[in-house]
């Protein structure tokens, strides 16, 4: 698999951060992996790098439940800065919540490509990356 893409992980669960990073590395799915513990950290980084789009990720795996700024709040803020983002970014909501409300809410946000219930399987990761490639 070619690994030209930057994948961004926004999740406060350190174990998850560890496993997903490990998995992406194991399957060599990304050029670079960015990890943020909550929405605000990620957003700050995005805003800082708006002008250097090569630093921005191509794929975001976004958790819902996070302190400070959760997944939805992040999306609200992201939509505000989106017109200034110079590249296409695929965003996946990744959560262990099976609450239909959460799933429905995520689906309603047009920018979110899909809602993935944890644990995320390597196959799913691979298909995400390949779907980006196809686009």
């Amino acid at each position: 698999m070619q690994n030209f893409y930057n994948i961004c992980i926004i999740d406060d669960d350190s174990i998850y951060q560890y496993t997903i990073t490990k998995t992406i590395r194991a399957y060599n799915l990304a050029n670079d992996i960015m990890v943020f513990s909550d929405g605000e950290e990620a957003l700050d980084f995005f805003i800082k790098n708006l002008d250097t789009s090569e630093n921005l990720p191509d794929i975001i795996l976004l958790d819902i439940n996070m302190p400070i700024m959760d997944g939805y709040q992040f999306m609200d803020e992201y939509l505000k800065i989106k017109p200034r983002v110079g590249k296409k970014i695929l965003i996946y909501m990744v959560s262990s919540s099976v609450d239909p409300n959460d799933i429905e809410k995520a689906k309603r946000i047009g920018e979110i490509s899909d809602y993935i219930i944890k644990p995320i399987k390597p196959g799913e990761l691979i298909s995400i990356v390949s779907s980006f490639q196809n686009n």
Binding site: Y16, N65, I68, V98, P119, I120
Partner: protein
């Protein structure tokens, strides 16, 4: 001046410096010139010397030659030294010449001399070196040859130098001249410069001096003028003294001028005449010699005058030495030689003896006049317009009612006149008199000091001098009585005239023969005839009926016991000075008849002789009509009384006289012929059982002075039992004593029966009934109403219905307005029923009773009444309240249950999420573990497993704790002290509190305790206070304040901190969620608030927070401290 000196001083300095500089310069130039001259002189001498030396050299050579070239001879030595000196001199000359370069000629000459000198020197040296005679010879020759031109040249040089020295001297002379001129100029200018300020000053001073000089001249002139004036004055004075003397001598009055020794200096002719001194020598003689009769007291006065006093006397008797008495006046005053120095006395006297005699006559006449005036109330007055002085005589003062010494001014005198017409009149009159001399005689009103108005007659005239009024005078008379009677007469006359001319009264006067002499307007109206038709032509017979005349004659005859035949009734009346008034009928001109009242009387002259008759008549047709009307009304009243079964009565309580109307006799069945009724007449009819209350009623009526409606029974004359109702009023006299009662008495027997029927109906009604009249006064209530409200009918009769309604409904006249509204639109309506506002009545004890009211209008003879049927709905209300309570309880329960339901759902959701998350981590780790081949990595993975499992365990513990929270029973509740709980929390957190410098304050004074689950409350305190400390601001020490309060009957607990605060707009919705954190704090777990909320919710309370970022947060718990918790 000092400044000037200073500036001059400064300039002097400059002056000196300049002089020194000039001196130094001169010295320098002279020195230099001397030096130059010296060197020149030296040069000249050297040049001369050189010539001499050259010759001496020759001479030495020759000498040497002569000595045979012996080197040891003096000649040789001399030659050697000469040569040496020559050479030195030559060199020196050369040097000096080079140095000075006096002039080019000398220079060139010297250069020309040099070769010769060199030859001389060389030759001389040759000789010295080699004293060979040949050489000597040659050398001598050479020297000789050279010596001549050299000498010539040297001479020329000497000349040149001399010339040079001359020129130098000349130059020096020139320089000295120039220097002298320059120095002179500088010194002059400097001298001027130094003296400039002084000069300026001098010029200024000079100018001033000139000015003051001219001023001095002016003042000198003035002085001269004054001197002249003084001289003139002196002359004048002398002249005036002379004049004075002449003046005194020729004065028309008696004047004497005396010196200090009381000796005469001058006397007037009048003086001599007055004191009969003709022919006597007076001047120079002593006053006391001439008048030996002058007593010591006068002498004393004179001495006083000599000391500056003035002695004057208007009149005094002067007993002369010959025994005669002379009336004199005098004025003695000192005269002054100069200021302060008395020269003697001037006496001015007058003989007023003749005047004095006249005066006493005048006084006598005046006295007589005054007496007369007093009687006639005439006073005199005088106004001296020159001095503006007013003089009033005694009577004038009396008329004005002021004391005799009253001093009126012109204005105050005028102001006594009554404002308005009188004042205007007098002012105008006085003005005319003062300006034009017009005398006046007017009658005006005066207001005296006591305020009474008095009619006065003011007569005045003026004294004119040169067309100008100097004095006004006149008399003033009190004509009040005259005037008043005159006015009264006028008035009476006018009134009489008015009456005579009025249309209301007819006046007809006849001569003694019966012919009409007066026929006024009223008579014209009444009879229809005009005065011109009647006066002097007709007798009153024309408008009288003959039969009335006859009746009148018969009556008069009867009255005076005369035979009516041939009797003149009028004459008969006149004889007795009597008059007759009776009703007549006039036959009017148009044939109609008019009833009149005629008064007949006779007219007599002052002697009592009959001169005519007078008839005064008035139209009484109106009165007739009124009488008829009264009769008719009376009949109507009787009729009405009969119909209404009513009679009226009057009772004069003073003389106990009673009058009844016709119908009252009918009601009481008393014979109408029965006269002289009294109270007892009535009282005898009263039913024996009612006599007591009747007696009481009347005594009460007298006490209260008002007749209330009163009903009692009577037994009528025919033995029937009747019920009567009395109504009326009490009349009192000015002392407020009852003097009369008038009223009605109605037979209400049948009405009573009808009422009784109605009452029976009322009493049988199941509801309380209250009947109210239009004014809202209670008229009737039934037994049920008495039971409901606890009042007896007597207590409520005629009382406002509001007495039965709680004050909160009747405030602000609301009820009164509503009541009026009902009367405006009376219809049956029900109140207090259904969803309408609840109605309450209030009973005698003040207890409120829930009621329903049905109002219905009741049209009765007494007007519109309202009957209110009132139902006590206490029981219904109670039942209703119970149902509502039950419903409310059910609603609360439902609410609580749905809350519980939601909590359970939340819990399920949380559980699934928070358990799924570690499980999914486990799965992911497991997968990694499977694919990992590196053993080290596997070890790391295994550590992660432990971490996840640890997390899972703690989550499970939290959930279990949350689950445990759900189980709470009533027995877990206990009374907990907030203060105690806080102290316990403090103990637990003591480490953190100390470490963070936290300050925890509290106020539990309003609610010190609560019945609650102890563990929960402790947990709540612990969690919230821990949070407050944990999320403190790094900029300040934590300050936490905990307080309990009652708000809307619920216990509120607030925990306020000054920590980081939160953006609740962002996070408010997840504040109490599990694992929700809002700060990147290492200890933030998101469990505390979750558990706290569960605990609060479980106990039926609510928790919420308000917060401001960087200011702090307030957590508020509203405890549900009613019994709701029991439903769990």
């Amino acid at each position: 001046m000092q400044k000037l000196t200073k500036s001059i001083k400064n300039r002097y300095l400059l002056f000196f410096i300049t002089i020194i500089i000039i001196m130094v310069t001169v010295l320098f130039i002279i020195q230099r010139s001397i030096n130059l001259q010296a060197s020149n002189a030296y040069l000249i001498s050297t040049v001369g010397n050189q010539g001499m030396l050259s010759q001496r050299i020759i001479k030495s050579i020759i000498d040497f030659d002569n000595t045979k070239n012996n080197t040891n001879t003096p000649a040789f030595e001399s030659l050697k030294s000469l040569t040496y000196r020559f050479e030195n001199s030559q060199n020196y000359l050369q040097e000096q010449n080079d140095k000075i370069r006096i002039n080019p000629i000398a220079d060139s000459l010297l250069k020309a001399s040099k070769p010769y000198a060199d030859i001389i020197i060389a030759s001389a040296r040759d000789i010295i070196k080699n004293s060979d005679s040949q050489i000597l010879k040659n050398s001598l020759e050479k020297v000789k040859e050279a010596e001549l031109p050299y000498s010539i040249i040297l001479n020329s040089i000497t000349n040149e130098y001399l010339k040079n020295a001359d020129e130098n001297l000349k130059d020096l002379k020139h320089i000295m001249y120039i220097l002298a001129i320059i120095a002179f100029l500088i010194l002059i200018s400097e001298f001027l410069f130094v003296l400039a300020p002084a000069l300026n000053h001098l010029i200024k001073k000079n100018k001033e001096l000139l000015k003051s000089n001219s001023e001095l001249a002016i003042s000198e002139n003035k002085l001269k003028l004054s001197m002249i004036e003084l001289t003139k004055l002196k002359t004048d004075l002398e002249t005036s003294e002379e004049y004075n003397k002449i003046f005194i001598e020729q004065a028309p009055t008696a004047i004497a001028m005396l010196d200090k020794e009381m000796k005469y200096i001058a006397v007037s002719q009048q003086w001599i005449r007055d004191y009969k001194m003709e022919g006597k020598q007076i001047i120079g003689r002593s006053h006391y010699d001439i008048f030996p009769e002058i007593g010591d007291d006068w002498k004393e006065n004179h001495q006083k005058c000599l000391n500056g006093a003035i002695d004057s006397c208007d009149e005094a008797p002067f007993k002369r030495a010959d025994g005669t008495v002379q009336w004199i006046y005098w004025d003695v005053r000192p005269w002054y030689i100069s200021e302060g120095e008395i020269g003697g006395l001037i006496m001015h006297t007058g003989d007023i003896t003749a005047l004095k005699e006249k005066d006493s006559d005048r006084i006598r006449i005046q006295k007589i006049l005054d007496k007369t005036n007093e009687v006639a109330r005439i006073g005199t007055w005088e106004v001296d317009l020159e001095n503006n002085k007013v003089i009033w005589s005694k009577v004038v003062c009396e008329i004005h009612n002021v004391p005799q010494d009253y001093k009126p001014g012109l204005n105050t005198a005028i102001n006594f006149f009554k404002e308005g017409k009188s004042r205007d009149t007098i002012e105008e009159a006085v003005k005319q008199a003062a300006e034009k001399g017009t005398p006046y005689d007017i009658e005006v009103e005066l207001v005296t000091t006591t305020g009474t108005v008095v009619w006065t007659r003011a007569i005045g005239q003026s004294e004119m001098v040169d067309g100008k009024c100097t004095r006004l005078f006149g008399v003033f008379q009190d004509i009040n009585n005259i005037k008043i009677s005159q006015i009264a007469l006028n008035k009476a006359h006018t009134e009489l005239k008015a009456i005579f001319n009025s249309g209301a009264v007819a006046i007809v006067a006849t001569e003694i023969d019966g012919i009409i002499s007066q026929f006024n307007r009223g008579a014209e109206i009444l009879t229809g005839y005009s005065a011109s038709e009647m006066i002097g032509l007709q007798r009153p017979k024309i408008f009288h009926f003959q039969e009335e005349f006859d009746a009148f004659r018969i009556d008069i005859a009867k009255l005076y016991h005369k035979d009516p035949v041939g009797l003149s009734a009028q004459e008969e009346l006149a004889k007795h000075d009597a008059y007759d008034t009776r009703e007549w009928n006039y036959k009017r001109k148009d044939g109609s008849t008019i009833p009149i009242q005629l008064t007949l009387t006779s007219i007599k002259d002052e002697k009592g002789e009959l001169i005519g008759f007078l008839g005064i008549s008035t139209d009484i047709s109106e009165k007739r009509i009124a009488e008829n009307e009264l009769l008719r009304k009376n009949q109507l009243l009787n009729f009405a009384e009969e119909i209404t079964l009513m009679g009226n009565w009057q009772w004069d309580t003073v003389i106990d006289k009673v009058e009844w109307s016709n119908n009252l006799y009918n009601i009481f069945k008393l014979d109408k012929e029965t006269k002289s009724l009294s109270f007892d007449t009535y009282f005898n009819f009263v039913h024996p059982d009612d006599r007591d209350i009747v007696t009481k009623y009347f005594s009460k009526t007298v006490d209260e002075k008002s007749l209330q409606r009163f009903t009692h029974r009577i037994i009528a004359g025919d033995g029937t039992l009747k019920t009567v109702q009395l109504l009326g009023e009490v009349i009192t006299n000015e002392k407020n004593e009852v003097v009369e009662m008038i009223g009605t008495c109605q037979d209400i027997t049948e009405q009573r029966m009808a009422e009784n029927k109605f009452r029976g109906l009322l009493e049988s009604a199941p509801d309380a009934m209250v009947i109210v009249n239009e004014k809202g006064k209670i008229q009737l209530i039934n037994k049920q109403a008495e039971i409901l409200f606890g009042y007896h009918i007597d207590e409520l009769f005629n009382k406002p219905v509001e007495i039965l309604i709680p004050a909160r409904f009747t405030d602000n006249y609301n009820h009164t307005e509503q009541r009026n509204g009902f009367f405006a639109n009376p219809n049956v309506r029900a109140m207090g029923v259904g969803k309408e506002k609840e109605l309450y009545g209030i009973n005698k004890k003040g207890k409120e009773i829930p009621i329903q009211i049905s109002l219905s209008p009741l049209q009765t003879e007494e007007g519109l009444l309202v009957s209110a049927a009132i139902r006590d709905v206490t029981v219904q209300k109670l039942a209703e309240r119970k149902i509502i309570q039950a419903k409310e309880n059910l609603e609360t329960l439902t609410q609580h249950l749905s809350g519980q339901n939601k909590q359970l759902a939340d819990f399920a959701h949380i559980t699934s999420h928070n358990l799924r998350s570690p499980v999914s981590n486990l799965n992911a780790l497991l997968h990694l573990y499977d694919i990992e081949e590196n053993e080290d990595e596997k070890k790391v993975l295994f550590e992660k497993f432990e971490l996840v499992i640890g997390h899972l365990t703690s989550t499970l513990n939290t959930l279990i704790e949350a689950l445990k929270t759900k189980k709470v029973s009533e027995k877990d509740l206990e009374l907990i002290d907030f203060e105690e709980t806080l102290n316990k929390t403090r103990e637990i957190l003591s480490g953190q509190i100390i470490k963070t410098n936290s300050v925890i304050t509290s106020n539990f004074s309003e609610v010190p305790t609560i019945e609650y689950h102890k563990t929960y409350l402790e947990s709540i305190f612990l969690n919230l206070i821990t949070n407050a400390i944990k999320y403190r601001s790094p900029d300040r020490n934590p300050e936490i304040h905990i307080e309990t309060k009652i708000i809307e009957q619920k216990v509120n607990l607030t925990i306020r901190d000054n920590g980081l605060g939160m953006d609740l707009e962002k996070h408010g919705h997840k504040l109490f969620g599990l694992y929700k954190t809002f700060h990147r704090h290492p200890d933030a777990k998101g469990v505390g608030l979750y558990l706290t909320k569960i605990q609060v919710d479980t106990m039926g309370g609510t928790i919420f927070a308000t917060s401001k970022v960087n200011k702090g947060s307030i957590f508020t718990i509203i405890f549900n401290n009613n019994s709701d918790a029991k439903f769990l």
